[in-house]
Subunit: 139 residues, 3 copies
Amino acid sequence: MRICHDQFEIRTQGKGTYEITGEIQEKIDKNGVRSGTVTIFIQHTSCSLIVMENADPTARKDLEEFFERLVPEDSDYFMHTAEGGDDSTSHIRMVLTRTSETVPIIDGKMQLGTWQGIFLFEHRRAPHRRKVCVTTIGQ
Amino acid sequence: MRICHDQFEIRTQGKGTYEITGEIQEKIDKNGVRSGTVTIFIQHTSCSLIVMENADPTARKDLEEFFERLVPEDSDYFMHTAEGGDDSTSHIRMVLTRTSETVPIIDGKMQLGTWQGIFLFEHRRAPHRRKVCVTTIGQ
Amino acid sequence: MRICHDQFEIRTQGKGTYEITGEIQEKIDKNGVRSGTVTIFIQHTSCSLIVMENADPTARKDLEEFFERLVPEDSDYFMHTAEGGDDSTSHIRMVLTRTSETVPIIDGKMQLGTWQGIFLFEHRRAPHRRKVCVTTIGQ
């Protein structure tokens, strides 16, 4: 049993979902863990982590539109607006989604279902560099 | 320290919450892990995982009704509708809830609180077979 | 590789967010785990766990107000009201947020981002004693 810590950076170009399944599997391949778990952890409070359907891009478009309507930028009660209209909305959308996920690894592969992909969900309008931690535990 | 991977299937009969606490504890019992963690992972994008009050069924009825209203099937902006009115709503409700949870195990038992149960939350109208991964790490 | 189970209690004084980052790091320090993961697990169904911006208190005020509006106490379809108007809303807000999170530990420290804090999100009006489980796996 051993623990491997890795990290990678993803550059986002505004709001939207960015698939990171390949980057995570690459870290597992590099470490050579055959049986265990991988924990993905996002080190930010204005973007988040989701597992999502990765076949039809319209599924993600609908998801993004849903969040625009659920947590609208122009909410009149927002006080935390120092960084703009997407400041409080970013944190709230992050809380409504996820910061960490743990996925089983068997035979060196993440045990994702057929339609599951792992995505970084960017909630900021401006481009950002986002750090993703990948921790594998196993043998 | 060792890792055990298990899986079980649950047949759902339309939208709703299905308790799976017993099935998960059975896998832990079978593996004989006394101290460690269990990670539950759902391999689907149109159902999800929740921890929920498991004593009074009306608590879950209210939760289900809340999600029907929060993510209504007839939203006019949905583009991802190939599989019906419950297609995009299923993915969005899944993202708003959870795909994995990790629970401590002490003395061979999941350390759930008095009122906590673990449920699969089915977001599809039609019956489905759902796969749940159960990974225990411990000794 | 070893597993350490700890628990602490936090007394809440009504609805709101209560930072517990320090209490969690204390348990890691006590156990002496230098490299691994920590899983935080909340043993309740009417409060929840969130990672949130911990610098500007107005960010959390906006979040709390958002949840008051998203899941209002006076919803006319609620059936689960035995414990008051905050009964069903507590469970629903819990499901929309989180019960467990897993965070990497490197050099004995949780790998949180600059602005990330870990909070217990209390959904009940009355004061409560809340139990938080802290499980570290590592070496």
